[in-house]
Symmetry: C2
Subunit: 203 residues, 2 copies
């Protein structure tokens, strides 16, 4: 007597679900069985929206954000300040910045950061497109909103050097204590950067 | 200036993923963004296997297990013991029993358990089909492998009463201490059932 397992189609489904980020083997099996046992069209709906996203969403040719249109909502919005371009690593970094409600300019997603270990050099990133945009749109300020890890720093330094020749101010996000964080939770690097970036207080 | 969000297709995807069991809003967003940023065909593959499972898998008309064929692997296996039918609540309960490697008979999934609160009565379950099978296949033993909660107990009692008229032995899974569990971890109900079901030890 052979050992019984799920039919191949179910095993393939569990295998695919297991590859999703944050989904382990147990969760994958649980989701697959839920799909098998649900009597409505919801699993097919999941299948449909995955396909729809893959087919309809593409990168905005100007800034790299997600869009179904020729330009994304941000680039198409003429009320936004064209004088500021905020450079981010990934298009997904745009939404957290938007949620702050503070930045009213435009974005430029590089599509990654310089990381020799992952074989990502400057030529893999949308840096040429950024230079073109600066020349075409003539912004007054480029804000580098890159990660504060080694690769983010390296990318920021590379860009700062490159953009020195262009008539544009280059700034970067402040580094320091996170909001709500006490000194005892801050690591040494954060604390030394917070010290180095200290600002004057009116006395 | 309006607040920017993800395009509608991405929001729909996040919404659908959020409904999967064990997936919260953060995980749903993470999976959706992973799908957007993956440059290979993997998200489409996920979409495809979900659809494939929905289209190809159906319930075995005899026992209720999953199959792509007319009969499931277990029912089609003529080397299995036709004298024992193990009754489970859900088809997904069959696999854990198979993993034990101990049971060599056949299965019958009821498709649920009697639960008045969820409006599930005996007529919603595959009980008539079980009676038909007993008459047609003439097994010598029906093993009730139902849950040890209130609804499982109620369903087991209902079936035991119903099957009393038929020429078949009805047994149920033992209740007692789980393997590896000490007395201090066992709750009162488990312990009282373990006491009631105590077995003789050779002296």
């Amino acid at each position: 007597m052979k050992r019984i397992a799920y039919p191949a189609a179910i095993q393939a489904l569990i295998g695919e679900l297991k590859r999703l980020p944050g989904i382990g083997p147990r969760s994958a099996e649980r989701i697959a069985l839920w799909m098998l046992q649900s009597r409505d069209a919801r699993p097919l709906e999941v299948s449909r929206v995955i396909r729809e996203v893959q087919e309809s969403i593409h990168a905005c040719p100007r800034c790299g954000f997600f869009t179904t249109d020729t330009l994304c909502e941000i680039c198409a919005d003429t009320t936004r300040d064209a004088a500021q371009i905020c450079v981010v690593e990934q298009p997904t970094d745009i939404l957290p910045l938007e949620r702050t409600g503070v930045f009213l300019g435009r974005y430029h997603a590089l599509g990654g950061r310089i990381s020799p270990l992952d074989h990502v050099g400057p030529e893999e990133l949308r840096i040429d497109a950024l230079i073109e945009r600066i020349k075409a749109e003539a912004p007054s300020e480029i804000i580098l909103a890159l990660g504060s890890d080694v690769e983010g720093e390296a990318t920021a330094n590379y860009l700062a050097t490159l953009l020195r020749e262009l008539p544009v101010t280059v700034t970067r996000l402040a580094q320091g204590l996170p909001a709500g964080g006490g000194l005892e939770q801050a690591d040494e690097l954060t604390l030394s950067r917070a010290l180095a970036g200290r600002t004057a207080v009116k006395g």
